[in-house]
C-alpha cells in the first residue's frame, strides 16, 4: 500500500435522495392495492420524480462530489513490521499429534488379523461351552440361536449336540464378521496413539460389548438374557489381542502421497511396499 500525499480530495458518487423517492413511490403504488387508489396516484408521481432524479444523477454525466482527504492526524498510521518471530507448526514434530496417512496396512493384514482373531475367539467360545455346559458346541449353538432367527431360521433344537447345518451357518457369520472387523482393525488401530494391542485388546472389546449388549436387547430381547457377558468380553479380548498382535507385526505400505508426481502418474517406477524409510 502506498500513500498519495498529493491528493486533497477524492471523487465519490454524490449523495442523492432519488433512490429513496423512487422506492417510496413504488411502495405507495403497491400499497394502493390494500389502501386506496389515491395512494397509487401519489405513489406514481413520487416514483416518476424519483426515477427522473436518479436518471439525472447518471446522465448526461455521473454526479460526483469531491470528498476531502482525511487530515494526517486522523489517518490510520503506516503499518510497521512487528518484531515477534513466527513459529511454524511442523507436522510430526514433538508434541504434534498429526499423523499424515503416508503409509497404511494392506487389506491382507486385516484379513489375516480377522482369521487369527476369529480362531482365538472360537477357542474361548469352545472353552466357555466346556466349562459352562460341558459341551464344546454349546457356544456355537448359542451364537446360532441369536443369529438364525434374524434370517427366519429356527434355533437349534439341542444346545449341547453337534448340528452340521447350524455349525456351517454359525461359522459363516463368524468368519464374515471376523474378516470385516479384522479389516477395520488394520485400518484404525495404526492411527490410534499408543499400542495396537491395547486398543484392540482392551478398549475395542468394551466398546463392542456395550454395542452388542444394546443391539441384542433391541433385536432379540429374549436373546440378551441368554448371553454370558463375562465370557463375551473374554472372547472379544481374545480377538482384539490376537488381531492387534497381527496388525502390529504387519509391515505398512506407502500411500500414493509419498510418491513423486511422476511416480503417481505411472511414469516412474515406484516402490510398492515396505517402510517409507527403506525408500528414502
Amino acid at each position: 500500500m502506498t500513500e498519495n500525499e498529493e491528493k486533497e480530495s477524492l471523487s465519490l458518487p454524490a449523495s442523492t435522495a432519488a433512490p429513496l423517492f423512487f422506492a417510496f413511490g413504488l411502495v405507495l403504488l403497491l400499497a394502493s392495492l390494500v389502501t386506496n387508489v389515491i395512494f397509487a396516484y401519489v405513489g406514481a408521481v413520487i416514483a416518476v420524480l424519483g426515477a427522473h432524479g436518479w436518471w439525472r444523477e447518471m446522465l448526461p454525466r455521473e454526479h460526483i462530489e469531491p470528498v476531502p482527504v482525511q487530515p494526517l492526524s486522523e489517518r490510520a498510521p503506516e503499518i510497521t513490521p512487528q518484531p515477534a518471530s513466527v513459529e511454524h507448526l511442523v507436522v510430526g514434530e514433538d508434541g504434534h499429534r498429526v499423523r499424515l496417512p503416508l503409509e497404511y496396512h494392506p487389506y491382507a493384514t486385516g484379513l489375516r488379523a480377522g482369521i487369527a482373531g476369529g480362531i482365538a475367539m472360537a477357542v474361548v467360545g469352545g472353552i466357555h461351552g466346556l466349562v459352562a455346559a460341558g459341551s464344546v458346541w454349546a457356544a456355537f449353538n448359542g451364537f446360532a440361536s441369536i443369529v438364525m432367527p434374524l434370517f427366519g431360521a429356527s434355533p437349534p433344537p439341542d444346545m449341547l449336540s453337534f448340528h452340521p447345518g447350524i455349525m456351517v451357518a454359525a461359522l459363516g457369520v463368524h468368519i464374515a464378521l471376523s474378516l470385516l472387523i479384522g479389516i477395520v482393525y488394520s485400518s484404525v488401530l495404526p492411527m490410534l496413539p499408543g499400542h495396537p494391542r491395547l486398543w484392540g485388546g482392551i478398549v475395542a472389546p468394551i466398546v463392542w460389548t456395550a454395542a452388542g449388549w444394546a443391539a441384542v436387547g433391541l433385536v432379540t430381547p429374549d436373546g440378551a438374557g441368554a448371553v454370558s457377558w463375562g465370557w463375551f468380553i473374554a472372547s472379544q479380548i481374545a480377538f482384539g489381542l490376537v488381531a492387534g498382535e497381527v496388525v502390529s507385526r504387519s509391515t505398512p505400505v506407502r500411500t500414493l502421497q509419498s510418491y513423486t508426481l511422476s511416480g503417481r502418474a505411472g511414469l516412474e517406477a515406484t516402490p510398492a511396499q515396505g517402510h517409507p524409510e527403506d525408500h528414502s
Binding site: T16, V27, H63, P66, I79, H96
Partner: protein, 559 residues
C-alpha cells in the same frame, strides 16, 4: 455544480455547524456503502427487537398449560409476524448490511458497483418492513377485517385464499415481503458485481477473504431463489385480486405448487442466512486463534458445494405432502449430502483453532459456541432428512428446535460475534468486554434452556403453532423451562444494547486495527473515511496485513 473529466461535480460544504436535520439528510440521501450497511444492520436490530417481543409474548402464553394470556387468533398473528420478521426483516438485512459494509473494504474498493441501486435496495427493504407492520393498524381500519397476517411465515395455500383469509392482512404480508425482496435482489446484484469487478490490484479470486467468497455464494443463491418467491407472490396476488386460480384446488389450481415455489426459495433462504454466519466465523476464528484459516481452498469449495446443493433440497420440507417414494428418497439423499461440505467447514474451523494461541474475547466466544450449536443443528437436520423420521416429527417442536438451532445457534451467535468484532471498525469505539461477556453467558444459557428443551417437547408429541395445551400431556415442565430461557435471552440482548450504548458514551478509541487482524478493512482508520482507501491497496496474499506486519515471513511465500 461544475464539470470535470466528464463527470458532474458538486461541492459539499464540510466541517460547518450542522443541525440534526442536516445529519438526518446525510443519512437518508447517502449512497455510501458503509452508511447503508449500518442502516441495514440497525434496521435489522430494530426488527429483531420487535420479533423478539413477539416471541416473548408467545412463550409467556405457553409457559403454563391452559393459559389464556394471548387469544388463539392473536397467537396465530404472533407466530406469523415473528417468523416473517426474523427471516425477512432481521436475517436478510443484517446479512446484507455486513456484506455491504465489508465487501468493498475487504477487496480494496472505494464503494459498491452500483451505489444508488444500493440505496434503493435498502429503502425497498425498509419500506417493505413498514408495510408488513402497517397491517397491525391499517388492515382493520380500512376494510374492517383482521389485523396482522395469521397464515404462518410460509403462508400455505389454500389458507391464503380469499375464502380463508378475509380482509387484507395476508395482502400486507405478500406486499411487505414482495417489496423487501426487491431490495434483497438489488443487494445481491451489487455484492456480486462488486466482488467480480472491483477488486484491488493483486486481489485475485484465490486471495479474496473467505467472507467475500461466502457472500458471493449467498448473492448467487439470492438471485436464484428470491425471484421464484416474488413470482409466486405475484401469482398469489392475482389469485386474491383478479380471481386467478393458480393455487385454488377447487378451480383446477394446485395448492402444492405454492409449497414447491415457496420452498424452492425457502430452503436456499436457510443457506442465504447461515452461510454469512459461516463467513463471520471464518474471519473471527483465525484472528482469535492467531493462525491462518485451515483449508482455504476446501472452505471455498465447500461453500460452493453448499450453494449448489442448496437449490436441490427444497422438497424435504414436503415429505408429509405425499410426493411418492422416488422423490422422498431423492430429496432425503440430497439433503444428507449437504452434511459433507458443512462437515468440512466444521473440521476446518476446529483445525484452525488447533495449535493456535486462542484469545477468548467476546467475538471468539460467540464463534466457538456457534461451532458446537451448529453441529447439533446439523445433526438434527440429518435426522429430519430421513422421510420416515419427518413423518413422525413434522410440525412438532422438534422441527422448531432444529431451525432455531440453525438460525439462532448458528446465525445469530455469529451475528453477535460479528457485531463485537467489527463494531470498532464501524464506529471507532470499542465495546465493553465485560458487558459482552454478560451478554454471551446469559444468551448462551438462555438459548440452551429454550431450544434444547424444545427437542424434548417435540419428541413428546407437542405440535407447533398450538396456542395452549392441557396440563396432563407431560409438556408443562419443558415449556416452563423453555419460557424461562427466553427471559435470560432477553437479558442477554439487553446487555448487548447496553454495550452498544456504553460504547458510544464511553468512546474508548479502537484504533484502526484493535484485534491485530489481517484483512484490508483493518488497514484503514476506524471508522473508515468515505473513500475507504486513499490509494488503492495492492495485495500479494490472502492476509495482506500479515505480509506488512511480518515482512520476514510473508504469506505469499507459502500460498
Amino acid at each position: 455544480m461544475a464539470s470535470s473529466e466528464g463527470l458532474s461535480v458538486s461541492t459539499v460544504p464540510k466541517d460547518v455547524d450542522r443541525t440534526w436535520l442536516d445529519h438526518m439528510h446525510e443519512w437518508v440521501s447517502t449512497v455510501d456503502h458503509k452508511r447503508l450497511g449500518v442502516l441495514y444492520i440497525f434496521s435489522g436490530l430494530f426488527f429483531f427487537i420487535l420479533g423478539g417481543l413477539e416471541a416473548t409474548a408467545m412463550r409467556a402464553q405457553l409457559a403454563i398449560p391452559a393459559n389464556d394470556l394471548v387469544e388463539p387468533a392473536e397467537f396465530n398473528r404472533l407466530f406469523t409476524m415473528h417468523g416473517t420478521t426474523m427471516v425477512f426483516l432481521v436475517g436478510m438485512p443484517i446479512v446484507t448490511g455486513f456484506g455491504n459494509y465489508l465487501i468493498p473494504l475487504m477487496i480494496g474498493a472505494r464503494d459498491m458497483a452500483f451505489p444508488r441501486l444500493n440505496a434503493w435496495g435498502f429503502w425497498m427493504f425498509f419500506f417493505g418492513g413498514i408495510v408488513l407492520y402497517m397491517s397491525y393498524f391499517a388492515s382493520m381500519g380500512l376494510y374492517g377485517a383482521g389485523t396482522a397476517p395469521d397464515v404462518g411465515w410460509f403462508a400455505y395455500s389454500p389458507l391464503t385464499g380469499r375464502a380463508f383469509s378475509r380482509g387484507n392482512a395476508t395482502d400486507y404480508w405478500i406486499l411487505g415481503i414482495l417489496i423487501s425482496g426487491f431490495g434483497s435482489m438489488s443487494g445481491a446484484i451489487n455484492m456480486l458485481t462488486t466482488t467480480l469487478t472491483m477488486r484491488c490490484p493483486g486481489m485475485t479470486m484465490r486471495r479474496i477473504p473467505l467472507f467475500v467468497w461466502m457472500m458471493l455464494v449467498v448473492s448467487f443463491l439470492m438471485l436464484l431463489a428470491l425471484p421464484v418467491l416474488t413470482a409466486a407472490q405475484v401469482m398469489l396476488l392475482f389469485d386474491r385480486f383478479l380471481g386467478a386460480h393458480f393455487f385454488d384446488t377447487q378451480a383446477g389450481g394446485d395448492a402444492v405448487l405454492w409449497q414447491h415455489f415457496f420452498w424452492f426459495f425457502g430452503h436456499p433462504e436457510v443457506y442465504i442466512l447461515i452461510v454469512p454466519g459461516f463467513a463471520y466465523a471464518s474471519e473471527i476464528i483465525p484472528v482469535f486463534s492467531r493462525k491462518v484459516i485451515f483449508g482455504y481452498v476446501t472452505m471455498v469449495a465447500a461453500s460452493i458445494c453448499i450453494g449448489l446443493v442448496a437449490v436441490g433440497v427444497w422438497a424435504h420440507h414436503m415429505f408429509t405432502v405425499g410426493m411418492g417414494r422416488g422423490l422422498d428418497i431423492w430429496f432425503a439423499i440430497i439433503t444428507m449430502v449437504v452434511g459433507i461440505p458443512t462437515g468440512i467447514k466444521l473440521f476446518n474451523w476446529i483445525a484452525t483453532m488447533y495449535g493456535g494461541k486462542i484469545r477468548f474475547r467476546v467475538p471468539m466466544l460467540f464463534a466457538i459456541a456457534f461451532i458446537g450449536q451448529f453441529l447439533l443443528a446439523g445433526l438434527t437436520g440429518i435426522m429430519l432428512s430421513g422421510a420416515p423420521f419427518t413423518w413422525q416429527l413434522s410440525d412438532s417442536y422438534f422441527v422448531v428446535a432444529h431451525f432455531h438451532y440453525v438460525l439462532i445457534g448458528g446465525l445469530l451467535f455469529t451475528v453477535f460475534g460479528a457485531c463485537y468484532f467489527w463494531f470498532p471498525k464501524m464506529f471507532g469505539w470499542m465495546m465493553s468486554e465485560r458487558l459482552g461477556l454478560w451478554h454471551f453467558v446469559l444468551f448462551f444459557i438462555g438459548f440452551h434452556l429454550t431450544f434444547t428443551t424444545m427437542h424434548i417437547q417435540g419428541l413428546l408429541g407437542m405440535p407447533r403453532r398450538i396456542y395452549t395445551y392441557e396440563p396432563d400431556r407431560g409438556w408443562a415442565i419443558w415449556n416452563a423451562i423453555t419460557s424461562a430461557g427466553v427471559v435470560l435471552q432477553g437479558l442477554g440482548v439487553a446487555f448487548f444494547l447496553l454495550a452498544i450504548f456504553m460504547a458510544f458514551r464511553q468512546k474508548k478509541p479502537a484504533g484502526p486495527d484493535p484485534w491485530d487482524a489481517w484483512t484490508l478493512e483493518w488497514s484503514t482508520s476506524s471508522p473508515p473515511p468515505e473513500y475507504n482507501f486513499l490509494s488503492l491497496p495492492e495485495v500479494r496474499s490472502r492476509r495482506p496485513l500479515w505480509d506488512l506486519k511480518h515482512p520476514e515471513d510473508p504469506d505469499w511465500e507459502h500460498e
